[in-house]
């Protein structure tokens, strides 16, 4: 029983970390129409930045600043946002396909840097002993996971509420206007570039937050954590749940992660040992099939986009008419 419960805690932590990343992607794609297919890269930046800022001193690579976990997390978000700024400034003025090309490229470049810049990242062996929050309390394993779950859940709620408020604000309305018709938006006095850049940077900072939490939870980062398959998983979460809807992003993350881990363990128990390594490929095929199914049956995801009129505007409208 406790085994199942602790597994559930473990599962939820991971699902909620991905939920954060999916929320960041939803701001970019769901609300602004930005095609970011380098999610793994911004997750990576968050992970390594956190390891460097809050991790212990490493013998062979950068670290040892020993900053508090909160500072490490903020630093990770800032760094991911900064990279987004560097990628976004030259590409967001251009047609949307340029962002796709640039993001997929930067994600791979970042992964190769992580693999090869040993002095910075620890190379293929990665960075170990990354701290968790409240490490000093010497909590047991179960308690430590529970505390972490509460922390991640709180952050998810916080980010969710902030994003909900923002997308219903005048600022969020402009994002959607740009997504719908850029030329019309600029004919109404909006500079599409500025809004796209803001949305992109903010979304990537949230991905960086996810990366930092992941590094802290797992306690270890290595370049193999950031393969393009991660980007694919996050996209699958958003599409299954329903892009353009933050609740959809949350739901999709939990469901797809459950499916992913579920098929993983089934593959492990069913497949003969010789084929175990191929199990991963089978998972990808299965999730691809689920995606196709969703796109055919519910093209807007399980919970699609909803109408968003700001609360004040709506109240004012009802009060008057």
């Amino acid at each position: 029983m406790t085994g199942l419960l602790s597994y559930l805690v473990f599962f939820l932590i991971q699902a909620l970390i991905y939920a954060l990343v999916a929320l960041g992607l939803n701001l970019q794609w769901g609300y602004t129409g930005l095609f970011n297919i380098g999610v793994a890269g911004f997750f990576l930046v968050g992970s390594y930045t956190f390891a460097v800022l809050s991790g212990p001193a490493y013998a062979t690579h950068l670290g040892g600043f020993g900053l508090p976990v909160a500072v490490g997390i903020l630093g990770a978000m800032a760094m991911a946002g900064l990279i987004a700024l560097v990628v976004g400034i030259p590409t967001l003025r251009l047609r949307e396909d340029y962002l796709a090309i640039a993001t997929i490229g930067i994600a791979e470049v970042l992964r190769l840097v992580a693999l090869n810049a040993r002095g910075l990242t620890g190379g293929s062996r990665g960075a170990q002993s990354i701290p968790r929050p409240f490490q000093g309390l010497e909590l047991g394993n179960v308690a430590s996971n529970l505390v972490f779950l509460v922390l991640v859940a709180a952050l998810v709620v916080l980010v969710y509420l902030a994003l909900e408020t923002m997308v219903r604000s005048p600022w969020g309305r402009v994002l959607k206007a740009i997504r719908e018709d850029e030329q019309a938006a600029s004919s109404l006095g909006k500079d599409p570039f500025r809004f796209r850049l803001q949305s992109f940077v903010l979304g990537c900072a949230i991905m960086g937050l996810g990366g930092a939490l992941n590094a802290s939870f797992v306690g270890f980062v290595a370049p193999t954590d950031f393969l393009p398959i991660l980007t694919f998983e996050i996209w699958a979460m958003l599409i299954v749940g329903g892009s353009g809807n933050n609740r959809g992003a949350l739901l999709g993350s939990v469901l797809v992660w459950a499916f992913w881990t579920g098929t993983g363990s089934i593959a492990q128990s069913l497949l003969p040992s010789g084929l175990q390594v191929k199990g991963g490929a089978l998972q990808v095929i299965l999730i691809g099939a689920v995606l196709l199914l969703i796109l055919m049956i519910r093209p807007r995801g399980l919970i699609g986009e909803e109408r968003t009129v700001s609360r004040e505007a709506e109240l004012g409208g009802d009060g008057r008419t």
Binding site: G172, R173, A177, L188, K190
Partner: protein, 271 residues
């Protein structure tokens, strides 16, 4: 000082000269109509004024300052807003949202003030909402009450035109460029929109430059009419003088005669 001053602008697309050495002025508070046969360059003129295209030659001044080279969104900030011949509404968003969107930049609301829900933010939201209703109420009850929260894609074509006009007004511009505001409207609705455009000037204080094919509307409300043909101005003046101008008659009738000849030839070819 003229509100809008177009000085000798030309624009070509490859080999096609869409606008040739065009000049005219619009005074504050005027309603000026631009007419001309299909393909005369009327929409191109709007695109040049609003910064979608940049003229190859010539200057465009708004309230005395050149606006050539500014981006479309900067030109809106100066005070010129437009509607589109083919409608460019945000069709998945509600009528109210469409009219709220253009107000964002005037009321200076940032994403963090939205997150913190500051009192100033709530007040601005209320102001934006009031202004949206004020602009929508130009069209009587047609866009009010339950329509406010309907997505634009369920609206009739005529109501979409009205929504787009309200949206242009909500930018806070002083001057409106309306590209065929009565297109797709029946005769009764055309009479109504004619009256509304006049009220937009009289009560709303807007200066209006409009493109129209319906001559009863043009004759009814225009202080002046500019006639284009093949990108050139062939006449300008009061409606009655312009329609009696032989050059204008030729531009329209000559076209029609030409078209008839073409279609007869085509019909003959088929037989």
């Amino acid at each position: 000082m003229a509100m809008l001053e177009v000085n000798g602008i030309s624009k070509s697309f490859g080999g096609l000269q869409a606008t040739t050495d065009l000049s005219f002025k619009v005074e504050p508070g005027e309603i000026v109509s631009v007419i001309g046969p299909n393909g005369a360059g009327k929409t191109t003129l709007f695109n040049l004024i609003t910064g979608v295209y940049r003229p190859d030659q010539g200057d465009i001044r708004f309230e005395g300052q050149s606006i050539v080279g500014l981006k479309p969104n900067q030109i809106v900030d100066r005070g010129i807003a437009r509607t589109f011949q083919n409608l460019r509404l945000f069709t998945n968003l509600s009528v109210l949202d469409n009219v709220l969107i253009p107000q964002h930049h005037r009321l200076r609301s940032t994403w963090w003030s939205a997150v913190l829900r500051t009192p100033g933010y709530r007040r601005r939201e209320q102001q934006m909402h009031d202004l949206a209703l004020e602009k929508l109420s130009f069209f009587g009850p047609r866009l009010m009450s339950f329509r406010l929260h309907q997505p634009v894609y369920v609206l009739s074509y005529a109501n979409r035109r009205r929504t787009e006009m309200a949206r242009a007004m909500a930018t806070g511009a002083k001057m409106l460029l309306l590209d065929e505001p009565s297109a797709g409207m029946n005769p009764k609705e055309t009479v109504e929109i004619t009256d509304i455009i006049r009220r937009m000037r009289d009560e709303g204080g807007y200066t209006i430059l409009l493109v129209e094919h319906k001559m009863n509307l043009v004759g009814e409300i225009s202080d002046r009419v500019v006639v284009l043909d093949y990108g050139q101005k062939i006449a300008e003046g009061a409606y009655q003088d312009v329609v009696d101008d032989p050059k204008v008659i030729e531009a329209y009738l000559g076209k029609r005669a030409q078209d008839e000849a073409d279609s007869e030839a085509a019909a003959g070819g088929q037989a």
